[in-house]
Amino acid sequence: MSSAHSHLLYRHGDSLIHRLPAHAKLLALVGFMLVVVATPRDRYLAFAGYAMLLALVAVAATVPAKFIAPRMIVEVPFVVFAVLLPVISTGPRVDVLGLSLSEDGLLAGWNILAKGTLGVVAAILLAATTDARAMLIGLQRLRLPARLVEIAAFMVRYADVVVSDMQRMRVARESRGFEGRHLGHLRVIAQSAGALFIRSYERGERVHLAMLSRGYAGAMPLVEHAPVAGRAWASVAALPLAAAGVAVASGWFV
């Protein structure tokens, strides 16, 4: 939601993970995260296991830690929430560093922090190894409604254009002395937002004209898909299965 998220996470590469088809990676990731989310919060070993699995994936994808770390900034709001939970929760208290904190709140905070962080790292790994076009084809192969995928394709294609339109407007405003750190500035910004909407909508109309001119009759032509090899499915299924294994195994140690 902030400007940090206007840059795509895709990182060009030719690793094993890069070459896997997007829809398989997506399914594996969702499966993995479902196992993570379903894991009881006191199975600390399990979470350590999940983190190691993700580290293995990162290695296989040739994505270095210093790529992942700064992009985890997305986390900040829920880290705040997780930190506050021990403070405002009810239940028996424990003393930690002089503060009286709720025991249940501490566990709840850890729960959110652990699962949320694993989710962010997994999502970064997916986005880093899958470019936008591949992701859209993946969604198509997962039988997402065609119209939804089309809308997503146009959004991805024109997000940069609209964002840079917006930035150009900001430059134009500031070049004419506009500063505005006070509430009055919202009016000017909203004017620009209104102009941005009109410009974007009119562009959408022109795109439609261009599509009609090239024979568009209501449905996007199908992209032919190469069938996914069994080996690819096997390597992709490894992740959620391993996670499930970790979850079960950790149950024996607690």
């Binding site: 024109y158 009609l212 001119s213 032509p221 032919e224």
Partner: protein, 253 residues
Amino acid sequence: MTKSLEVRGLAYAYPDGQQALYGIDLSVERGERVALLGPNGAGKTTFVLHLNGILSGGAGTVNVAGLDVRPGDRDALREIRRRVGIVFQDPDDQLFMPTVRDDVAFGPANLGLRGVELDARVAEALEAVGMADVADRPPHHLSFGQRRRVAVATVLAMRPEILVLDEPTSNLDPASRRELADILRSLEVTLLLVTHDLPYALELCERSVVLSGGSIVADGPTPDLLSDEELLRRHRLELPFGFDPRVKPVRPA
């Protein structure tokens, strides 16, 4: 021989009532290269949108290589949109797919091409504009001039009968402008060039038509039209400073 384009008595008013075209008559032979000149607001783009049936509902007829443009007839419209290839002014409006290859394939895929045939058609179009090496790149990674050329390729891939370009040189740097001219010269297609760029019209089109205030006010050989100072002045057309249409420029070897 069937004309590429035959327009008779074309009149049109916008939904709010304002009339844009007051009866246009235009004939273009196969292989001809015609420049459509005129001031802003003359109705050039409105006219162009009638050629492939996007706009209709006025009076008059449009005939493309023997086929009448009739908006109700979907099959005829599909064929007409193959025959009339329009390259619009903003390439970003025309390049709406994730990669160049997808964009160039969009048109022929809508015509029913698939597989090897489709790939061959895409390659052919990209070769024609010299953009074969950027096929797998997303459009916003290309320079403006490159995007212009790819936009031409997206239309060429449909093997049109008549290629219509709306302001093809706007915002192009001189080198890109020349490259585009070379490409257009090499194509074997009827050409309708809507432009302000009078030297470009002189360079590429042997015939010019002036559209002003919704009517055709002049139609003749380009050098003659551009030498008629009175005509140019009356319709807000201006030659660049120091340009003499009567002198035939020679490119240094």
